[in-house]
């Protein structure tokens, strides 16, 4: 008995070892493909840059920056009583109309964007892959119901629904991320993932799993889903682009009650009427506006590069 368990234990560990080796091998191959593409590397570089800002912010607040002056939400610098003030050595990107340091705001907001992005992407992909796999696997009425719901959501511009929802409920970043994730799950991603799942469903190993006595649940979650992951990862990137953009638009329109984000920074600029002072108040407009553009386009670029790995047809043009 004991020898049996230890034997099976050794077997599992060796299986995991083999899996790990396979994973490392395919990851290395995919990375080589990804690194060939300058577009993806640029995107990754931008993401790393913003991630660095996220990490640096608490460190800076605990060491160099005085938390009372550099607090992104209610900081105030007694040495610069006239706000907004242009960039100086004390405030590298100037100060906001209420006296906060813009660089600190920018770095603090980057953290919110990453939380939003990761959460929305995970929600989207979880729902979209599950729905796609279930629809493809069962077919028939299940497929029909799921696809009709998807049709319904695709038909309606997501932003108009988000505007109404954020007007009705006071959403936090986490709640907003979940709502955006759900809406973007019921869209093109589910359709594409389903069609991918349909092509996997007819592969021999699915048949083999069924013959070996695997249940529906086992087949969907152990055999279908892992093979859908590459394409799901791709749609994760596009979901992130959408999430960052939607959050920024909602905050910009003044419909969101989060403590600080790039959209809120622009909203402040807009409501105080500095939005067209490009020559004198550029530091109120461009840091936040370009950050939104750069981060969402970075995820889009990484998505494009992943697209070429996932769809070999697109390679070498």
């Amino acid at each position: 008995m004991t020898s049996n368990t230890s034997n099976s234990g050794a077997q599992t560990s060796s299986v995991w070892k083999a899996r790990w080796a396979l994973f490392r091998k395919s990851a290395a191959a995919n990375w080589a493909l990804f690194a060939e593409n300058p577009v993806g590397l640029i995107g990754l570089g931008i993401i790393m840059f913003f991630f660095l800002l996220v990490i640096m912010h608490p460190i800076l607040l605990n060491t160099v920056w005085d938390p009372n002056i550099y607090n992104p939400i209610n900081g105030f610098d007694p040495q610069s009583p006239v706000n907004p003030s242009p960039p100086s050595l004390r405030h590298l990107l100037g100060t906001a109309p209420q006296g906060q340091d813009i660089l600190s705001q920018l770095m603090f907001s980057a953290r919110n964007e990453f939380i939003l992005a990761v959460l929305a992407a995970v929600v989207t992909v979880t729902i979209a892959t599950t729905l796609g796999a279930v629809a493809a696997y069962y077919g028939g009425i299940v497929d029909n119901i799921i696809m009709r719901v998807v049709d319904l959501v695709i038909m309606v511009p997501a932003l108009s629904i988000l505007i109404v929802i954020s007007g009705l409920f006071e959403l936090s970043i986490v709640q907003l991320a979940i709502v955006i994730g759900i809406i973007s799950a019921f869209s093109a991603s589910t359709v594409v993932i389903k069609s991918q799942a349909l092509s996997i469903k007819v592969k021999p190993y699915i048949e083999a799993a069924r013959v070996a006595g695997g249940g529906d649940f086992h087949i969907i979650f152990r055999h279908l889903l892992p093979n859908l992951m590459p394409i799901a990862l791709l749609y994760m990137m596009f979901a992130v682009t959408g999430a960052i953009f939607s959050e920024a638009v909602l905050a910009f329109l003044g419909l969101l009650e989060v403590d600080m984000s790039w959209g809120i920074m622009l909203n402040t600029t807009r409501t105080l009427g500095y939005m067209l002072d490009f020559n004198t108040k550029w530091y109120l407009i461009f840091p936040a506006g370009l950050s939104i553009t750069l981060l969402s386009s970075a995820f889009y670029l990484v998505g494009r590069a992943l697209d070429e790995i996932v769809n070999p047809r697109l390679r070498q043009r």
């Binding site: 511009p157 108009s160 629904i161 109404v164 009705l168 920024a248 067209l276 386009s297 670029l301």
Partner: protein, 395 residues
């Protein structure tokens, strides 16, 4: 074809009702109702508040209220705005619908056409610096934060270019930064803004129809006159209608006022969708150029221009047209943002406005109108696909 359209319209109606039910439930999830406004008022007791709720039909169960809402909606009663109090929602939306529709249609048509033409030439002359430059421009336009683009254009055109034109040519363009029309100018106008605007749209539609007809008929005229007919169809009617608007309509100055107000919103929305269309046409065209029949056409010794325009571009348009289905809703979202940035009173602007003022009858009406607009646009795109792809037309 007709049975297909009938089936699609039926599906659309079901989708619309489901959408309305979903939005109604969503808005119903919000705690409280309109009687909560009187909670702090000592003159209105709890019993009185209940009576008000009963009068307004707010005390019934969810399905009963929803049924009331739906029957009212389909008999043309969309409720009354709470902010602009006695004004019916239907009237507010009817006033704004032609504007949003025009903005959406113009931007979609322009961005599709220019994106298609630009992508076609880019794929043809591929490689080198051009490719990088245009890809960067395309991706930037595709992902730029829409309000930022709007404000950059506003700044560039309405302040910088305006000043430059005034200083160099002495003409005061006075490009407006917001609104649909100049109130001071329209006070003396013989018609209201929407009448003139609808006439302009009708004029535009007639021009498009003439061009399409000319292109269709040019197949049946001798080869050497084709180009002449096409160019004439694009210029002569346009010049004639311009002359009519300036000299004979009597509202030329008012029409011009609407045009300069419309210019920047349309430019913004066109640029946003242009990037995606251009990139996609390029990709699709590159794929088409590798097909065997392109090689065959080359081997036959056909001129490059004919291979590009007839063999490659006509097949490359199909994926771009399919992608239009997905980009429609993003154009509508972009329209909401553009209207808000330019304070241009359309459906999108009233949606944002009513939501921020908790004017939910208007918000629901606007949301439904946007939904209907998207549904109809999808239908038109699907029908257009059948015209573009003969393989579908047969079935």
């Amino acid at each position: 074809m007709w049975s297909y359209i009938g089936k699609r319209v039926f599906q659309m109606l079901i989708t619309l009702v489901l959408f309305q039910i979903a939005t109604y439930i969503l808005i119903d999830l919000q705690p409280g109702d309109v009687t909560d406004l009187f909670v702090g008022n000592p003159n209105i007791t709890a019993a009185e508040r209940q009576r008000i709720a009963a009068d307004l039909g707010l005390d019934g169960p969810l399905y009963e209220r929803m049924w009331n809402y739906l029957t009212n909606f389909y008999t043309g009663n969309l409720g009354v705005s709470m902010v602009q109090y006695p004004r019916p929602v239907g009237e507010i939306l009817a006033q704004r619908l032609p504007r949003t529709l025009a903005l959406f249609v113009y931007a979609t048509v322009f961005s599709f056409w220019f994106g298609y033409v630009a992508g076609k030439f880019l794929a043809w002359k591929r490689g080198g610096r051009w490719e990088y430059a245009t890809t960067i421009v395309g991706v930037t336009l595709y992902t730029i934060f829409t309000p930022l683009l709007g404000y950059i254009l506003l700044w560039g055109f309405a302040t910088k270019l305006d000043k430059w034109v005034r200083n160099t040519f002495g003409i005061d363009f006075d490009l407006p930064v917001s609104k649909f029309s100049s109130t001071s100018l329209w006070r003396k106008a013989p018609y209201d803004t929407n009448t003139v605007f609808n006439w302009m749209n009708l004029n535009f539609i007639i021009l498009v129809v003439i061009v399409l007809l000319a292109f269709f008929l040019s197949r049946y005229v001798p080869r050497n006159r084709r180009e002449f007919l096409r160019v004439a169809s694009m210029t002569v009617p346009f010049a004639l209608s311009l002359v009519w608007w300036i000299f004979f309509s009597g509202v030329g100055i008012y029409a011009w006022d609407l045009v300069i107000h419309l210019f920047l919103p349309i430019l913004t929305l066109t640029l946003i969708s242009f990037g995606g269309n251009m990139l996609l046409t390029r990709t699709s065209m590159l794929e088409t150029l590798r097909e065997d029949y392109i090689e065959t056409a080359r081997a036959k010794g056909l001129p490059e221009k004919i291979i590009r325009n007839r063999h490659a571009a006509r097949n490359a348009i199909l994926p771009v047209w399919t992608a239009l289905v997905f980009s429609l809703s993003s154009t509508i979202s972009g329209g909401i943002i553009t209207e808000t940035v330019f304070s241009w009173p359309g459906i999108g602007e009233i949606l944002v406005d009513s939501v921020s003022n908790s004017d939910f009858p208007v918000a629901m009406g606007a949301l439904t109108v946007i939904g209907v607009m998207t549904l109809v646009a999808h239908l038109i795109v699907d029908i257009g696909y059948a015209f573009l792809d003969p393989r579908i037309r047969v079935h």
